[in-house]
Amino acid sequence: MSKASALSAQPATGPVRRLHLPQKLRNLELFLVLIACFINASAVVLVQLGALGELDPTLMLLGAGLSVLVISLHVVLRFVARDADPFILPIATVLNGIGIAMIYRIDIANKQGGWESAAVRQTVWSALAIFSAIVVLLVIRNHRVLFRYTYIAGLVGVLLLFLPLIPGLGQEISGARVWIHFGSFATFQPGEIAKIALAVFFAGYLVRNRDSLSMVGKKIFGARFPRFRDLGPILVVWALSMSVIIFQRDLGTALLYFGLFLVMLYLATGRLSWVILGLGLFLGGAVIASQTLNYVNGRFTNWLDALNPDVYNAKGGSFQLVQGLFGLAKGGLLGTGWGQGRPEITPVPQSDYIIASLGEELGLAGLFAILALYLLFVARGFRIGFAGQDDFGKLLAVGLAFVVALQCFIVIGGVTRVIPLTGLTTPFLAAGGSSLVANWIIAALLLRLSDTVRNQPRLVV
């Protein structure tokens, strides 16, 4: 597909058609959203019965408010994106709700309540995040607007990324300098928003420059390697990731950005050589980092030898990882049930380790369900990629979906010892406002993109 078609005008969607056709997709979505709200309400009730032993209406009211907001989002979709994918909103809703229920459950265990408690903050943040999603849907009526802001998006992404390094604004929490704080009230992780900006930038940049990146270059061992002067962008992104590792001490975020870039680069150019080159660069950097930076080295030791008593007892050792495994083991196949386990024993059970907390109380069955929800969410994003007509939209949709998939893999894989543990939030589930806002914006963008796909004349499908 050429640049011209990528920039072609938005297809006309007349108001006449909107009046006549029954909104089958939206009705399905409403049905699923209601089920999601029911599941969320049940989770909170079960938490209260299991951990509190009585029903407390406060959080139920907040939850009901959230349900109203989700349904408002659904109504907005009926007007501005009537052909959007019907599964994205219910999945985001149920994951968000289960997350709140688990955070609430841990609040109860830690005897925290009222407006200062993590569950209430998470609910307020959720409201803010869903509201952001509504704003995104209302403001961005056509995703190709974003194509115009490719370089601005790139700049914003990099700025957001380095915001925490500014003295006085940045804040270091558990070793990683990825937060900024406003007064004493709120902390925010700008890197979460940066990933969206960077996805927009990568998509726009690659669609513009794919030809020179993919066509020219020398053939070595059957693979076409790029010219040195075309290496510029990958080196810049690589340097960016490495500086995140070094200055912000955040391995997970670096891996996330670089993985996102590599996949989008591969999609745009179709050159496996780029991936090999990129992986080589990143692994090289990671190996050097693991040798020179203590915290990276420790992560590897904790991963490979977690149950070793020396590693377990060391400062910054595998204590947390092993406690998470104990929690998962306690959950077994069916889990202890909401409010019946002891997830609070594991450090940070509501953010990095929320998946271990859920595994403890909902069991392997519950985790499989959650993983299936993530997979479905990602698959809906990829579906836009397959069915899309313009390359920018395809790349952006797949990029956003892949970021969610990779983030799940990095954090859940870290907790279950597939890869070394690095701190990242579990999308939609984990406590953290910036992560919620970012993921709901991703959901909104995917909704917008899927609507465009459905709206296009169906020539092929």
Binding site: A329, R342, L371, F382, A405, C408, I412, G413, T416, R417
Partner: protein
């Protein structure tokens, strides 16, 4: 682009497959190992959620779970804590349980296989699950008498029923208060525990089953059994009676504890040697028989293997591959021969029981919460170590030892006590280890008793078995026989 998209989809799919796989491995395949990890506090807390069964002596609890208003829900409480500490052990919140609390943990928590259906029915009926209670074989009169009689000595008293191997008393001193180790406060538990570990008298050791000492002269019972059972010796067999003996192939000398000969005369009989507890005749006998014969008999008595009562009893040893001088020393219970009080109780118990060794046992019954017996322990024979005639012969020799020999301080008016004392060396200057083992009444043995006094009973190398250990046994036997 769609070809690339397909490949990336496959990569994403593989990522999720890896996550499905890893969660399955952790939650299904490794779950049991992870739950059994001692660092897993979840398992520990869980074990407190069930009302742990009581440990009972004649129906009265010596360990029970009292309701507590904290995370653990129950506080383990011990009655008469120091008296019964070696039996109950303790279950701390931050470490491994010991004693019966450890050995019968799954029964006490209700997790043993035989309680499976009780667990299911509790689930269905909505009752709180409860662990099983354990009734021990201890006789509170014997236990108290043994505790009182041992006084301030460092040591142990074990009383068994010869016909069944049931343990009627098991005292270890100095003892400790297990209640200090079950409080629900990590720091307090650790402080109490550290203090007990730092105590040079090792109060946490259950000396009855875990303290290994040279048995000294009481091992002569084993050697005498070996000799009589070989058919080559009778109580009237004679041995040369010098005042100093040098085993073949060595220059180190062996003396009798008296320092002189074993009674008057050029020769001495086996019966006299045992009655007066002389070392030289036994050294000669040991060398003549060889270490293999002695070891075979010792192993029939239970040496060189562990026993489960169901706490694990340390392995009493008769070493392998001894040369003549070593065999000579081993024949009177020295040179790396070691024994627990319980092992020696098995020796005198077997003699009392007509030559059959009974498996020692501390647990009478496991009782379901509704007090029906889940499991009742039957007396178990470990095997015959000697004929009834030999047993009767040795009994007579032991009675003589108490009546008119080296164990005279165990004499009780109106009852024939069979006994043997021991005074074992632990090195050239260390305090002696003092022993008594025996049973009463000799014609119808009801009680077998073994007394261990470590650390010379505070008298260094001047105390001896008949002076310190035999009176303890006498007091206990008087109490249980109502004399």
């Amino acid at each position: 682009m769609n070809r690339e998209l397909k490949r990336v989809s496959i990569v994403v799919m593989l990522m999720f497959v890896a996550l499905l796989g890893s969660t399955s491995v952790v939650q299904a395949f490794q779950a049991d190992n992870l739950s059994a990890d001692p660092r897993n506090t979840r398992t520990l807390y869980d074990s407190y959620q069930v009302e742990r069964g009581a440990i009972l002596v004649k129906g009265k609890p010596i360990a029970q779970s009292m309701p507590a208003d904290d995370d653990f829900k129950f506080l383990r409480t011990y009655t008469n804590p120091e008296l019964y500490a070696p039996i109950t052990g303790y279950i701390p919140i931050n470490g491994e349980p010991t004693g019966l609390e450890f050995a019968l943990n799954s029964e006490l928590t209700g997790a043993s296989n035989s309680q499976f259906f009780d667990k299911i029915s509790a689930l269905v009926t909505g009752q709180d699950p409860k662990g099983a209670a354990v009734e021990v074989t201890i006789d509170p009169v014997a236990q108290q008498a043994a505790w009182d009689a041992l006084g301030d000595y460092t040591g142990s008293v074990v009383v068994t029923e010869p016909a069944t191997g049931r343990i009627l008393a098991m005292v270890s001193k100095p003892s400790f208060n297990p209640n200090l180790l079950t409080v629900h406060n990590n720091a307090e538990v650790t402080a109490s525990y550290d203090a007990l570990v730092a105590d040079p008298n090792n109060p946490l050791i259950n000396r009855a089953i875990n303290s290994l000492n040279p048995p000294g002269s009481i091992f002569k019972l084993v050697v005498t059994t070996a000799a009589l059972e070989s058919g080559n010796y009778t109580p009237e067999s004679t041995f040369l009676n010098p005042s100093v003996y040098t085993a073949p192939g060595t220059t180190s000398v062996i003396e009798n504890s008296s320092g002189g000969t074993c009674g008057a005369g050029e020769t001495v009989t086996l019966a006299t040697a045992l009655r007066l507890s002389c070392n030289i005749p036994f050294a000669e006998l040991g060398v003549e028989m060889g270490d293999t014969t002695i070891r075979e008999t010792a192993e029939k008595f239970g040496f060189n293997s562990t026993h489960s009562i169901p706490m694990t009893v340390s392995e009493s040893t008769y070493p392998r591959g001894l040369d003549d001088p070593q065999t000579a020393q081993s024949a009177f219970g020295q040179f790396n021969v070691t024994a627990t009080p319980l092992q020696m109780a098995m020796v005198s118990g077997a003699i009392a029981n007509g030559g059959v060794v009974m498996a020692p046992n501390l647990v009478q019954e496991i009782l379901a919460p509704n007090l029906s017996a889940i499991q009742t322990f039957e007396a178990t024979e470990l095997g015959r170590v000697m004929s009834e005639e030999t047993a009767a012969t040795i009994t007579a020799m032991m009675v003589n030892g108490v009546q008119d020999g080296a164990a005279s301080n165990a004499r009780i008016d109106g009852v024939d006590v069979a006994g043997k004392t021991g005074t074992a060396q632990n090195g050239s200057t260390d305090p002696f280890t003092l022993w008594f083992t025996g049973f009463a009444p000799a014609n119808d043995p009801q009680y077998a008793i073994t007394v261990l006094v470590e650390n010379g009973g505070g008298e260094g190398q001047t105390g001896f078995g008949n002076k310190l250990a035999a009176p303890v046994a006498k007091k206990v036997l008087e109490a249980v026989l109502n004399k």
